[in-house]
């Protein structure tokens, strides 16, 4: 009797110990965006299918997150098993050997189903270093009612001349309607994301093949001239302080005729908080007939830092969250409109998803961006609206301050470009790119 009891006790302790040893907690750092919050909400689906794994979330604002995960990965701090990072970090970190390669994901994951433009931005030397969770580009969102009133129609693939004409026609400052709303707030991910993408369509580039800055060229001058001209004549007041959220608020309140920004905005401007939800049309980001459009490419992706003790569990999560099955799971719970967009070809072949008004435009926008060959002329870097080098964050923010000042009228266009050229030359020489 006692023996049986003892054996039973022993067995239960052993069982308890083995479950404890199997249970593994993975810590995931992510940003506070709608799609990520939804993923967080679906964690129980993952843990139900993977009983040995528990998940701990660290959700942070984008800039705080970037500083934190960069510190952690650079020092091999090991606080996170999965990090949410963007197309800017992946090429840099991958080259440093900081990330676990995801080439060995199982066949049913169907790696070839990932959109080529997105996959290209996350691959270094043939290794996929992050799995895309959602992809975005930028496009034109415009007010169909105001266009109609002005007697204009928006082409599906407009030129900058079309945009300028439409902005002039829709502007009605007395009624606080501004033809065009664009980012003006200084920052590498703020006005410089927009202006760098815009400059691609004007034939400009950040650096030539010898890493020499190009702000003294005619193409950058043309970019900035048109940008300032449109914003000063048809933009909202105080635009030099406007970022994504400010412009979103203006557009939702019916104060913008057009807004060129991230494709993810489409679901917001047509959502419940928007006063113009049923009057929004979409078009590709404009071009100038030079073979490059002014849209960017970004993908929030899940990456596993090299050196994590929990690589196998982390990989399981990454596979789950970026799989075809996850898209179906979200669709079954919250509808197709809430599925994270822009990562898989199969999603766009799905007839249900094709009914979403902005689905095709998002796909076309993503497909027309090429991070490995972003400008009209050849460039030595990867990235459409950024240059994937560690120095870019600081440099582009400094340049962004010059351009924001030009928009605010505290400096002239010529001075802003000259200062940008000087800043970039100094920084690139110091960093050893210019010999």
């Amino acid at each position: 009797m006692t023996l049986t009891l003892r054996a039973l006790l022993g067995a239960s302790v052993a069982a308890g110990l083995s479950t404890a040893a199997l249970a593994e907690t993975i810590t995931i750092a992510t940003v506070n965006n709608g799609d990520m919050i939804r993923m967080q909400g679906l964690t129980s689906e993952f843990t139900a299918a993977n009983p040995g794994i528990t998940v701990e979330w660290v959700t942070l604002e984008e800039n705080v997150l970037r500083q934190k995960v960069t510190t952690d990965i650079a020092t091999k701090g090991g606080q996170f098993d999965i990090m949410t990072i963007g197309t800017y970090e992946v090429p840099i970190w991958g080259k440093q050997g900081w990330l676990v390669s995801l080439n060995d994901l199982p066949a049913e994951y169907d790696i070839d189903d990932l959109l080529p433009a997105i996959r290209g931005g996350l691959t270094v030397d043939g290794n996929l270093y992050a799995a895309p969770f959602y992809g975005e580009s930028s496009m034109v969102m415009y007010r169909t009612d105001l266009m109609e009133k002005a007697g204009l129609t928006m082409p599906e693939a407009p030129t900058w001349a079309d945009i300028k004409a439409a902005a002039a026609a829709m502007t009605d400052k007395e009624n606080e309607v501004y033809g065009i709303c664009l980012r003006g707030k200084a920052g590498w991910g703020e006005n410089m994301a927009f202006l760098t993408a815009m400059s691609n369509s004007y034939g400009a580039r950040w650096f030539d093949m010898d890493w020499k800055p190009q702000f003294d060229g005619a193409a950058w001058k043309a970019t900035l001239t048109d940008y300032l001209d449109m914003m000063n004549n048809y933009g909202p007041p105080g635009a030099s302080n406007n970022g994504f959220n400010e412009n979103l608020a203006l557009f939702q309140q019916g104060k913008c005729g057009m807004w060129i920004d991230a494709t993810v905005a489409a679901s917001f401007v047509t959502g419940a908080d928007s006063t113009v939800a049923d009057k929004v049309g979409f078009a590709l980001a404009p071009d100038n007939g030079l073979g490059r459009r002014s849209n960017w490419l970004w993908a929030w992706s899940l990456a596993i830092p090299a050196g994590t003790q929990k690589e196998a569990s982390a990989k399981k999560f990454v596979e789950w969250a970026t799989s075809k099955a996850y898209l179906e799971l979200v669709a079954s719970k919250e509808g197709w409109a809430n599925v994270p967009p822009g990562t898989r070809t199969s999603l766009y072949e799905n007839p249900e998803y094709a009914k979403i008004p902005f689905a095709k435009m998002t796909l076309d926008s993503i497909n027309s961006a090429d991070p490995t060959n972003p400008a009209v002329d050849p460039v030595p870097y990867v990235g459409v609206q950024f240059v994937a080098i560690p120095e870019f964050q600081g440099l582009a923010t400094a340049v962004g301050q010059q351009f924001s000042a030009a928009l605010a009228g505290t400096t002239t266009l010529e001075d802003a470009l000259k200062n940008a050229q000087d800043l970039a030359t100094r920084e690139m020489t110091k960093a050893g790119y210019i010999k």
Binding site: T27, A29, V31, N32, N33, G34, I37, Q40, G41, E56, W57, V58, T59, L60, E61, E62, N63, V64, Q67, K68, T71, D72, A74, T75, K76, G77, G78, Q79, F80, G189, G243, F244, N245, L248, A249, Q252, Q253, A262, V264, A265, F268, A272, D273
Partner: protein, 279 residues
């Protein structure tokens, strides 16, 4: 004539009072606006012109925030970190301030300035070395680690504040205690400390507030387990998406405890802060 004087005085008093209320209101306004916004829908939060009081009040944001985040855990971490670091700091600072105030040497002023100068360095300058130390000692994402670092960060302020209060206490009283045979320990415990209670109390209160609001180290050295309310707020901010109402609700929940603490202890705070101010 005397009537005139009284009139000028009361008119002046009214002006000063009005001015004080205006300044007070201006300082309080951002907090009030945050609280008001937390009861709006996301749509109303960005409406222009904004509505001040007449909108559809809703507690939906609070429900969402509570559902999504573990408020009690963040709150408890904040309490442990701010109270722990302050008490530890005061324990170290009392003897330091005592020696600086009552046994000054030739270099006392320099020592004080040097201590304060550590506050002048931007924190991010030592982030990587600190991070490495924390990583190697296993202190990343632990409350112990954060208590330690916040003690160090706020120590100069605690020493300075206590030093200023101690300077106000006549050294003769301590001398008298010593002549009566009091040991150093009993001199500090029974003579100095009781006289400096208002000063010590306000130092503690102010430092709890500072530690509660500290957002650089708490965000960078903690991740999940030890994350205090600063991380709780940061998880509701977003550059792409309008979550102002939810962010305001999270902020209100994060500042409410410290606001209440400040409200109840304002007498102590004001007394302590003005103690020794008139020289």
């Amino acid at each position: 004539m005397p009537d005139m004087t009284r009139k000028t005085t009361s008119a002046r008093k009214a002006t000063v009072t009005a001015l004080a209320w205006t300044v007070g209101f201006l300082i309080f306004f951002p907090v009030l606006w945050t609280i008001l916004t937390s009861f709006k829908t996301e749509g109303e939060a960005i409406a222009a012109p904004p509505s001040f009081l007449f909108f559809d009040w809703t507690v939906e944001n609070y429900l969402t925030v509570n559902e999504r985040s573990d408020y009690p855990r963040h709150f408890w971490n904040s309490v442990v970190i701010s109270v722990g670091s302050t008490l530890l700091g005061v324990l170290i600072a009392i003897p330091a301030a005592w020696s600086l105030a009552f046994v000054p040497g030739r270099r006392t002023r320099d020592v004080l300035m040097w201590m304060l100068s550590t506050k002048m360095m931007p924190a991010v300058g030592v982030l990587v070395p600190m991070y490495l130390i924390f990583r190697d000692t296993g202190l990343l994402d632990t409350k112990t680690g954060l208590v330690g670092v916040l003690t160090l960060v706020n120590l100069p302020i605690i020493v300075w504040m206590l030093y200023t209060y101690f300077k106000e206490i006549p050294a003769e009283i301590l001398e008298a205690a010593r002549m009566d045979g009091a040991s150093l320990r009993s001199e500090i415990t029974y003579v100095l400390a009781p006289m400096a209670v208002p000063g010590i109390a306000s130092t503690i209160l102010l430092n709890i507030i500072l530690a509660w609001n500290e957002a650089f180290w708490t965000l960078n050295l903690a991740a999940a387990k030890a994350a205090p309310l600063t991380a709780f707020i940061a998880s509701y901010s977003s550059p792409e998406g309008l979550f102002y109402a939810k962010l305001s609700a999270a902020s209100t929940m994060a500042i409410a405890p410290i606001l209440i603490l400040g409200w109840f202890s304002q007498k102590q705070l004001v007394r302590g802060l003005t103690f020794g101010a008139v020289k």
